[in-house]
């Protein structure tokens, strides 16, 4: 009797774990399943769980009606562009804040974070007007810039935290050994904080890939990435659930694959320092 209680508890926790996981995963599963149904079946009530026909028609139609591949390339350019340029800015910024802190460094960090607490829509009108007069609306550089600026605080914060983990002695040894700042960065700092740098980049790629607010507001056709492309299927002409699902599936599959491959790295980076 006595040993039954821990076993029961464990079973209950396992069940709870599965339930939460299924709950979180269900929308994605439903989207994928719906993308293989016909439009009629997709809106049928009560809904059928499994598609009766398993049709690929939605996918063909989505590709035909809109240039999926073009949007895919836009998403790639946006994610990689904002991440690479962002790292070029964030690494020196985090370096100086971690290793050459001034009296105001803490305030700067807090201020940067506070920009993420403001709803983005608060800045929409001025940003839109600036973009309009600068000719940046619906351009890749424009949308890359705004996504980059939006994610920069997170990148600097993450890198700052990882850099702080590196013992000051090691960097001082590096200076004694005659390394310039650049060599210190290349030979010691970046290799030592590689898990952190990698997860910062991965997280930023994912955030940029999924970014929907600015892409919807500032792009239309030419520079629209996949997140904007999905939205074009919920248009005033009517909702097409099956095609919307097919478009969504197409949009999330690449990032799901990246996330799947790199999940070990991502978890290691995000818990870096917590489990030393």
């Amino acid at each position: 009797m006595r040993s039954l209680r821990p076993t029961l508890f464990k079973a209950a926790m396992t069940f709870l774990g599965w339930a939460v996981a299924l709950l979180l995963f269900f929308p994605i599963l439903w989207t994928v399943l719906t993308s293989f149904k016909s439009e009629v079946e997709a809106i049928a009530f009560p809904p059928a769980f499994w598609p009766s026909g398993w049709t690929l028609e939605n996918y063909f139609e989505v590709q035909e009606r809109s240039e999926y591949f073009g949007h895919f390339l836009n998403s790639v350019a946006l994610s990689l562009g904002s991440t690479v340029i962002g790292m070029l800015i964030a690494i020196p910024a985090a370096w100086s804040m971690a290793f050459q802190p001034a009296a105001s460094t803490r305030h700067v960090l807090m201020w940067m974070l506070s920009t993420k607490m403001m709803p983005a829509v608060g800045a929409l009108v001025p940003v839109f007007l600036i973009f309009k007069s600068a000719g940046l609306l619906d351009t890749l550089p424009g949308i890359t810039l705004i996504v980059l600026v939006g994610n920069l605080p997170i990148m600097v914060w993450m890198l700052y935290t990882y850099f702080k983990e590196i013992p000051a002695d090691i960097l001082e040894a590096c200076r004694m050994d005659g390394a310039t700042v650049w060599k210190e960065l290349v030979h010691v700092l970046l290799p030592m904080s590689l898990p952190g740098v990698a997860s910062t980049m991965l997280l930023n790629i994912i955030l940029a890939w999924n970014e929907a607010f600015w892409t919807l507001s500032l792009t239309a056709v030419k520079a629209a990435p996949l997140s904007a492309f999905i939205a074009s299927y919920s248009s005033p002409q009517g909702l097409f659930w099956a095609k919307l699902s097919a478009a969504s599936t197409l949009a999330i599959v690449p990032i799901l694959i990246i996330g799947w491959i790199s999940q070990k790295q991502l978890v290691r980076g995000l818990t870096f320092g917590a489990v030393k």
């Binding site: 002695d169 090691i170 200076r175 005659g178 390394a179």
Partner: protein, 339 residues
């Protein structure tokens, strides 16, 4: 090449002055130890010399060249850190080679030099290992290897042995002394352990609250301490300090008597006291005696069964080894005894 001169050196962190005014001249090839209690500013002074801290005031000269504002690498000094500060992602080989690589040395020159250094430090079998796969003593040797490979004008050690166990500490101490004999370059060695200081140093700078209290050879510090701080810091067990009437008898505010300069007897002597505690260390015995005043007197003596706690005995300081100090704690030179 390798003389170091500190000229009115001052360091403050914000409003806290850590080093008020340091003046020191270290000759080329000398082994100098900075010793003092924890927090007295030894590391800060060493880091000022290294160039890792910017002085608030004053000058640092190496071989007569003003390096006060020169970058660390330009000072031709190498440092061994307390934590070793090895690069964890590099092999032993890469760690030792790093300074040469930074100096832009050619790969084949580096290979030869690393082999030499690794041979002299018994590190050859470990060249491909990462630091984390080494023992404490081996890591220490890698840190030393990384320091000597550049053939610097001087070495700076910041408590390099404090992370090692007692036995290893003694053997590394010998190894570092050996290294100094072999290389003949200037070395500055920071420690809070006076035994390390006494056994290794040519000259010792005794520090207290950021000040260099005395800079002299180990024996001079022992024989002629400049003040009560140095007298109390050098020697183990600590020197006894006695005030009041007993000191006035010697025309001093305080007198100091080393535990090894006291004779005892059961029935006669200058002062009478009760044995409070007896520590048997084998070859010798350390006795703590309470005099009839509040003073506690510690002395060392060969083993004797008659010394037991609670017993009343007599002690006499050797008159020629009584140190006298004035009201400021400074040593009073001259004849020991009031005529």
């Amino acid at each position: 090449m390798g003389s170091i001169k500190l000229d009115g050196l001052k360091k403050a962190f914000g409003s806290q002055t850590v080093i008020p005014d340091a003046n020191l001249e270290i000759a080329d090839g000398e082994f100098v130890v900075f010793v003092g209690p924890s927090g007295c500013g030894k590391s800060t002074l060493l880091r000022l010399i290294a160039g890792l801290e910017e002085p608030t005031d004053g000058r640092i000269l190496i071989d007569g060249r003003d390096v006060t504002h020169a970058a660390p690498a330009r000072r031709k000094l190498a440092m061994v850190f307390q934590s070793y500060a090895l690069y964890p992602h590099m092999s032993v080989y890469q760690n030792i080679a790093f300074p040469l690589k930074m100096a832009g040395e050619k790969a084949d020159v580096i290979r030869v030099r690393v082999q030499e250094v690794a041979t002299s430090l018994d590190l050859l079998p470990y060249l491909e290992r990462r630091p984390r796969a080494l023992s404490g003593g081996q890591r220490q040797r890698v840190a030393i290897g990384r320091a000597i490979i550049r053939q610097p004008a001087g070495f700076l050690f910041d408590e390099p042995l404090s992370n090692l166990d007692a036995a290893l500490r003694v053997s590394m101490r010998t190894e570092i002394s050996e290294l100094h004999r072999r290389l003949r370059s200037t070395m500055i060695y920071v420690t809070h352990d006076q035994v390390e200081a006494m056994t290794m140093a040519d000259r010792i700078a005794v520090m207290n609250a950021g000040r260099i209290e005395q800079f002299d050879t180990p024996l001079e510090l022992y024989r002629r301490p400049a003040n009560m701080f140095v007298a109390g810091f050098i020697g183990s067990p600590k020197m006894n300090f006695i005030e009041g009437a007993r000191a006035r008898e010697y025309d001093a505010r305080t007198i100091g008597i080393r535990p090894e300069a006291i004779d005892w007897s059961i029935d006669s002597g200058k002062w009478r006291g009760r044995v409070e505690r007896v520590e048997h260390l084998g070859a010798e015995t350390v006795v703590h005696l309470s005099l009839d005043t509040a003073d506690i007197l510690t002395f060392r003596t060969p083993l004797d069964e008659r010394l037991v706690a609670g017993r009343t005995i007599h002690v006499s300081p050797r008159e020629d080894s009584i140190y006298r100090f004035d009201g400021e704690g400074r040593a009073i030179p001259g004849p020991k005894r009031n005529p």
